[in-house]
Structures are given as C-alpha cells and as structure tokens.
C-alpha cells in the first residue's frame, strides 16, 4: 500500500531524465523502431539464420517480423495504458517501487547488452573490412563520442536526424538491391522451405530477437505526440525493419549460396563488395558502409538514451545527463570484451537465442500485471476509480 502510494506521489512529472519539451512524431517513431530492428543486425543476421533455416532464412526473417509485430502490439497496449510514463515508471506503477525498479534494471541491462553487441558488431565491420590498422578502441571511441553528443541533445534530436538518415539508408539499400540483381541466382532460394518447417520456425524465433529489440522504444514512447498511434507506429517500424532484414538475407543467399553465406564474416558487406555499375562505380562499398554506419550510430544512440534514462529512473535522478559519460565508458568497455570475431559471434548467437524471450516476457508481464492490478494512465487505479 505504502509502495503504491510512493509511486503515485512521484507521478509523471518526476520521471527521471524527463525532457517535457521533447516531442516525437509518428513517422519518427516508425523510423527509430525500424533502425533499432535492422541497423546493426542486418550486417550479420544471415550468417545466424542460414545455418538454421537454410535457403528459407529470408522467410524466417519474415516469421520473426510477425512475432515482432506481436511483441510491439503488446508494447503498444502498454504504452496506451500509460501514455506519459517511461518503462521504469510503468513497472513501478504496476508492481510497486522495489519490483518495478528491479524490472527497470533488467530493462537497462537488456539495453546495455544491445548497445555493447551492436557497437562491437559495427566496429568489427569497419575494422576488419576497412580500417585494419586502426585500433578498435579508437573506432569505438569515435562511435561513443557521437553517441554521447546525441544522448546529450535528447531523443528529439536523435529522432529528427534518424528521419534524414533513414531516407538515405533506404535509398542506399534500394540501389544496392538493384545493382545486385545481375549477380544473383534466384534458384539458390530453392527449396522454399529450406531445412524444413521446424528449422524455419526456429529461425523465425531467432530473427524475432532482432524485432524484439523494438521494446527499447518503450523507454521514450511517452514523447510521442499522438499517444493513440504508438502501437501502429512501432508495428510499422518493425515491419519495415524486418523487410530490410529479409531482403538482405535473401539477396545474400542468392548471391553467395547457403554454404558461402555461412562462411563469410559479414554477408551484406560481401554483397556490397560485389556490386558495381559499369567501370566507373567500383569499390563503392565504403559509401554504403558510411550510410549504414550512420544508421547504426543512431540506433545505438537511441538505445544508449533508453539505457541511461532507465537507469536514471531507477536511481530516481531528475536529470539523466550526469550518467552519460560513465555509461559511455561502460559501453565502450563492454564493446571491447569480445576479443575476437569468433567470440563476438558467439555472444551474438547467445543473445539472439535467448533475448527474444525477454522481449516477449517484458510487455506480457507488465500488461498482465496492469490488467490484474487494474493500473492505468496517470497512476490511477482503475478499480479504485471505479469504486469511487
């Protein structure tokens, strides 16, 4: 009772790290969600999905998208129930402060792992393919310097820049797809069901872990101007992100074959290395990677922002900014834990295998809790309100 009262007295205005002036629009949530889903994962998703689902890996990505849609619909319901709350505040409102903070900590930990693995993957893609003699810590440092700046400016700035870069990234992917058409062999996608129905579904759940990363948006969905469209915006973002993922996987299989794609380090990068236009647009992969790097950067900035605002909420801080530098140092350190490429992909496989269950459980637990306890927007208790 006391716990519930404590939570109620804090209310929405005291949400830690809250920047009331920050406003995000429908399209920006779509874009941020899509970027969170595909921006780092699509570099190597094919080499995780293809060994499981074979030639049907692209269908697995679509199945993962469908599972992801289920997750964001639940998350959308949750956001609609608590339109002015961050995820930690929602959890506190539903389960009380101690348990709510614990859930908030697990969410912050989830975001931190996404951040660490995502940044490591992006740094590796640049380090292995382009800047071999540059120490990875420098690349990682540059990454985090930009992320710090983005986090300092707030989610509105990240959302606005994402809108600009998303357009460029989509154009780059369309160009890449068009240029790849002459070198692909569509027959390599056969047999349609690949290794069979069970592996296909298994692959779908692996792919769903990428779609499930969209729960990160719950940390800042309260900034959405039109609160009613949260569910639709997130669902559209997941659909767009997973279509990109499925296309990248499908083209990878058509170009390199099942065995080839399991062998290469970054299948999408190999696709970019293969394409060209005549003899005057060659070695253009750096252009693609520069754009993808920007997308990855914005994704990681959004995830970083979600992490620090959640931690600030858990700690009851009024402003998240004092956490930026320490958290960036933590992120840089985490991204350097996997010493080798093999180790990175091992961690990644582990994450992909299990994180989907967290992404499903989080909105389900909160929503069920909210329904059972009758919690609703603004901290009002539905049952109490009805009783009054």
């Amino acid at each position: 009772m006391k716990t519930a009262r404590t939570a109620e007295t804090k209310g929405t205005a005291e949400t830690a790290g809250d920047r009331p002036k920050d406003e995000i629009y429908y399209t920006q949530i779509v874009v941020i969600t899509a970027m969170i889903v595909f921006a780092t994962g699509f570099l190597a998703a094919a080499r995780i999905l293809v060994p499981v689902a074979g030639t049907a890996a692209w269908i697995s990505a679509l199945i993962g998208g469908v599972i992801g849609l289920g997750i964001v619909v639940l998350a959308g319901y949750l956001a609609a129930r608590f339109p002015d709350h961050s995820l930690v505040r929602m959890a506190e409102r539903i389960f009380g402060a101690p348990l709510g903070k614990l859930i908030g900590l697990t969410f912050a930990a989830y975001c931190t792992v996404v951040l660490g693995l995502g940044s490591r993957e992006s740094v590796l893609a640049i380090w292995i393919a382009f800047l071999q003699t540059t120490p990875p810590i420098i690349i990682s440092g540059v990454f985090y310097a930009l992320i710090i700046y983005a986090a300092y400016l707030g989610i509105e700035a990240i959302a606005r820049v994402s809108l600009i870069f998303f357009t460029l990234v989509v154009i780059s992917l369309l160009v890449l797809t068009a240029l790849a058409v002459p070198v692909v062999v569509p027959g390599r996608l056969l047999p349609v069901v690949g290794n069979g129905l069970r592996p296909l579904i298994h692959g779908g759940f692996l792919a769903a872990s990428y779609a499930g990363e969209s729960v990160v948006v719950l940390a800042f969905i309260r900034h959405l101007k039109d609160k009613r469209s949260a569910s639709r915006a997130m669902a559209t973002g997941v659909a767009a992100g997973m279509v990109v993922m499925a296309t990248a996987t499908g083209f990878g299989v058509m170009m390199l074959g099942v065995r080839g794609i399991s062998r290469v380090t970054f299948p999408v990068l190999e696709t970019a290395r293969m394409v060209g236009f005549g003899q005057f647009l060659e070695r253009a992969e750096i252009l693609f990677l520069a754009l993808w790097f920007s997308a990855a950067l914005l994704k990681l900035a959004a995830v970083f922002y979600a992490s620090i605002t959640s931690v600030a909420d858990v700690l009851g801080l009024r402003d998240y900014r004092p956490l930026i530098i320490p958290y960036a140092l933590l992120g840089t350190a985490l991204s350097l834990i996997p010493k080798t490429v093999l180790e990175t992909f091992d961690y990644l496989s582990m994450f992909v295998k299990y994180s989907v269950w967290y992404a499903i459980a989080l909105p389900v637990v909160l929503l069920v809790g909210a329904v059972v306890r009758g919690s609703r927007r603004g901290g009002e208790n539905v049952r109490g309100k009805d009783a009054r």
Binding site: A129, V142, L190, P191, R259
Partner: protein, 437 residues
Amino acid sequence: MSVARMRVKTKPGAARAGRRWGRTVAMLVCLLAAASVTGCRDAREIESVGFVLGLGVDETADGRIEVWAQVALPSAKPAEGEKQESWTVRSVGDTVWDAVRQLNGRSTKVLFRAHVRALVFGERFARGGVARALDALARDREFRYKSWVFVTSDPVGDVLGAQTEQSSSAALFLDDVMRNTARSLTAPRSRFLDLLTSIEQPGDQPLLARVRLVESEDGGGQPEGGARMAEAGGGRGAEGKQEVGPKELRIEGSAALCGDKMVGWLDAEETAMALMVCNRLAAYSLVMPMPGDEAGTMGFEMIRSHADTLFPKGVHTGDAAGQVMDVVIRITGTVDIREVLSSEQLMSMRSIERLEANISQHLEARVKRLVEAAQNRLGCDIMGIGECVRRKVPARVWEDDVAPTWHEQFGAILIVPDVHFEVGKRGMTMQSPRPVD
C-alpha cells in the same frame, strides 16, 4: 558594498569564460582525435601503390607454388610509348600466401590487390586443386570476388606477359574481352564468386574460361609481345624454350572442374552447349550445310535459348537413390539467319520447317556429345543437373543422401536432350542478291 557588487558581476563572467575554455579544449580534443582516425599518420601516396591488375598461380615441377602479379605502371604522360605500362613479377613459395608475401618483398610499391581483373591458374595447379589458392584470396580484404578466373595450358607468365595493342596489359585485355564481348564469347564468364560457390556444390560444378596463346593471324599485330613475354615468364616457353614470334591471347573453351580439381578441357562447341544447358549462353553462332543443297552453307546466330531440366519419372532419393533417375533436357530457342550461300533461298514454309528440324538435330547431336563427355570423359556434373535435383528435394535429403554420392549417380543417369529451335528473323533482305545469269 561595492566589493560585493563586483563579486556579483564577476561570478557569471568567470563562469562564461570557463565554459568557453571548456568548449575550446573539447574542440581541440575532438580535432586531435579526428586526426588520429583518418589514417593520415601512415598514409600511402598513390605513387607508392602498385595496382595489381592480374594474378597468376601455377605449380612448379617440384610441387612448389608460383605466383605472378601484373602491376600497372601509370605514367604522367599518356604518349610515352617507350615506357612499359605494366610490370609482371614472379615469386615462388610453399603455399599461395607464402608466394604472395614474397612478392611484396620484391616490389618497391605496396601491392594493392583490390583492382585484380584477372586471376589465371596454370593447368598443373588447377589439376592439383584450386582450393589451395581460394582460401588465401577469399580471406584477403582487398581481393574482389568479381575478378575473372581463367585456366591456361600455356605458361602463366607468358599469358600475363603477352601484350596487346588494344589494352595496356594482358589482365586489362582479358577483362575487356569478358566484359564487352559476352555475346560472342564461347567461354564461360567465370568470376571468382562463381568458382567459390560452385566448388561446394557437387550438382553444379565449375567451368572456368580457358585462355590460350595462339599464333597471331595477322602476323604483325603484336610486335613486342614475344620479347615482353620472355621477360615476364622468365624466358620459358611451353616446353621451356624461348618463344619467338608474335602471339595473341584467345579466350575460348573452358576447363571443367570436379570439386576444386580440374578434370579436363572442353572445346568451344562443348562449352557453348554446356552454357546453353545451364541457361548461361548469351548468344552463339554456327555455320552448317544447307538442307537439300550439300554444296551450300548457312550461317545462324542463336539469339535466345531456354533449357528446362525435366524428370519424367520423378526424383528418387533415399534408398532409391541408387536407381537415380531419367532426365530430359528440353531446349527451345530461336536462331536468326545471318548468311545464305546456296541456291535454296528458303522461300517456302516447308523449307523453313525442314531447316528448323535440321538445326534442332544439329544442336541435339552436340548436346549428346557434351553429355557423353560429362558422364564418361570428365565424370562430373557440369550441366547443373544436380542443382536442379537440389532445388526439388528437401535440403537435408540433398545434403545427407544425395550430395555425397552425386558424382557416382551422375554417371549412371539417362540424359536425353530434346532440342527445338525455330527460325526467327532473316535480316534486311528476303533473298540473296545475285547477278543475272
């Protein structure tokens, strides 16, 4: 009172100055950090980079690996006729990578392999297995998967050292031919990527373009070729003798590989048929006797063809895999008449039908010859029949039951070609111009 007022005025000013300093320091730190990541610290000037255009790999008689690199030598003035435009260097090592790293030691420039246009394997190396070169090249972040791959029975050094008047180096010549004359080429457009993907598929074995040195037909087309070849190849000819006289490069026919090992050559006609069966033949021209007029001839150009691999009795796998299956290769297409040297001018429907039947029979006989070569002489599936089976059966069945024994099964399959071609355009004239008798 006045001191207190001064303090009140000074504090915000000091804070502003502090912030300004802070920003300046932050900016300087960012600039310094940016300088460290641009690569300027150990930048390479373009003059110190050796752009490798062609790579050659062969095996010596004692089993060591020879590697050649053809490096572009760009000059400031385009009209410097006397200056060599490319330089070919050779090294020997225990493995491909060992030989490549020794190449680096022999060059004054940093060898940069991102512009390799042609990769030429010697026959001895190809017969021993090209996988020995694939690993080192596939790992190389500079090497491109779109480089053309060739096999030659001539000394690799001589092939790379051959000079043509059309291009500044042999590698560029090979690249130009593969890019620009695809429709008239009777060789597969084999890229490194195709080689990588097909050696792993027993049902879709690689065909690599063959490049040869042939006597120049015009006699004086390449005056410097012999001397340059001798320099590049260490003065060795096909039998270790000094080659004299102009020679030119010709891309024709192909080398058939079983897995990564070369098992034999296909001539131009067999290669064209193999490409037609795999739906990779862009165009093909042929000359044949005129039906009903043995003295006359006709020239055709195949402008379209499509092959379907059919399994009339279904695809048997598992226990029935030993029984294999019957395969019908149905090929349909269109030919355009390009030349008629005969009194028969094909002005009736019946003569056209007879011509179409004749062309179909002609091509069917050649496909049969290819099937015989693939099943008996080479013993590997260069026609992609296994790939068609792979697409029809579950992936696990293919991987576990069929693929491991596909080479043996392929030899026992009954393959029946069924070719139907029709005559399309006859050109801008209906009949041959001829003088009045």
